[in-house]
Amino acid sequence: PRSTDDFNYATYHTLSEINSFIDALVQENPNLVSKIVIGQSYEGRPLNVLKFSTGANRPGIWIDTGIHSREWVTQASGTWFAKKIATDYGRDAALTAILDRFDIFLEIVTNPDGFQFTHTSNRMWRKTRKPNSGSRCAGVDPNRNWDAGFGGAGSSSNPCSETYRGTYAHSEPEVKAIVDFVTSHGNLKAFVSIHSYSQMLLYPYGYTKTPCRDQAELHEVAQRAVAALTSLYGTKYAYGSIINVIYQASGGTIDWTYDQGIKYSYTFELRDTGRYGFILPANQIVPTAQETWQALMVIMDHTKNNPY
């Protein structure tokens, strides 16, 4: 594509195509968008993050898509979100107000090694690609690798399991890079990690049944976010804490971010048509992204209106 206007958002793209898209978006919007590289994957790929910013020293909102590489609709939705943010700034009053107060950080391909592997070798690959010493099985589930109840129930110590936690918390460079970014930034106010599939909007905790101290507020925001999402195409979502709505999962992303003091920590599980699982047809990408955007706007707007 010659520009991000020509990019086909209704098809799946390779890693290099997404990286070209990122560079094009930066080039087209130099006063709004920049690319920062927060680290390298195990195989040496850059961990690219788009920064949308209209001023200096702003608090931040983080969004990541595709930490599980085979969940292709997440990376595709992330690409659509990036274009949406660039397009709507200055046109949509709500988004403009958010960007006038906050920076938005968007990591479209959180697990580039795994994503590349799904395109070249194994479409069903979920984990990172680092070899595990003493095992024939490679990779760690990056959503069990965070220092939040690490090693507890709801994660596996078996390197061949899809939920293998790794040998220690933050052992995966893809996770460590975000950890370092979050701690060095020090002023993120919302953190949204997007997965697929099963149609859920979840908040902490996953590793303990103890309700998080902001549960009532997080629940109310989730309720409004899901209502906004559902209003577009009627897609039904469940919402609640991870441990109550899905299962006990230790070492999860948003449990760590919440414990770091990022109150508005949420994770999505995108569309489930009941027919395709991870292999969601490409014609579902844009509707999925559009409905998810409605919910994201509720979370970001609430973050803007409720400083802490």
Binding site: H13, R123, M124, S198, G274, I279, P281, A282
Partner: protein, 95 residues
């Protein structure tokens, strides 16, 4: 490139806690090489499992013997992946 010809994805709907426990036991049988897209957790949630061709007979027998209800969500995974690739190729050609 890994081939998924004959792999099926089953959507299994346990109707009680006993069936959830049976499905958890099934998930521990490593020789079947099942890939649980949605794990057996609770009666309220369906379970999706990718079953390699070589494990289809034992898995279906297990489910039938224990009278656990399931539907075939994806009849042949490779067919879907081929369609996905064709769609990407077509999109690039149009571009």
């Amino acid at each position: 490139k890994e081939n998924f010809v004959g792999h099926q994805v089953l959507r299994i709907t346990p109707k009680n806690e006993a069936e959830v426990i049976l499905l958890k036991e099934l998930s521990q049988l490593e020789h079947l090489e099942l890939d649980f897209w949605r794990e057996p957790i609770d009666v309220s949630l369906p379970v999706d499992a990718r079953v390699p061709f070589h494990s289809l007979q034992p898995v279906r027998s297990f489910l039938a013997y224990n009278e656990i209800h399931y539907d075939i969500m994806i009849a042949d995974l490779q067919d879907l992946l081929d369609a996905e690739q064709q769609e990407m190729t077509k999109s690039r050609a149009l571009q």
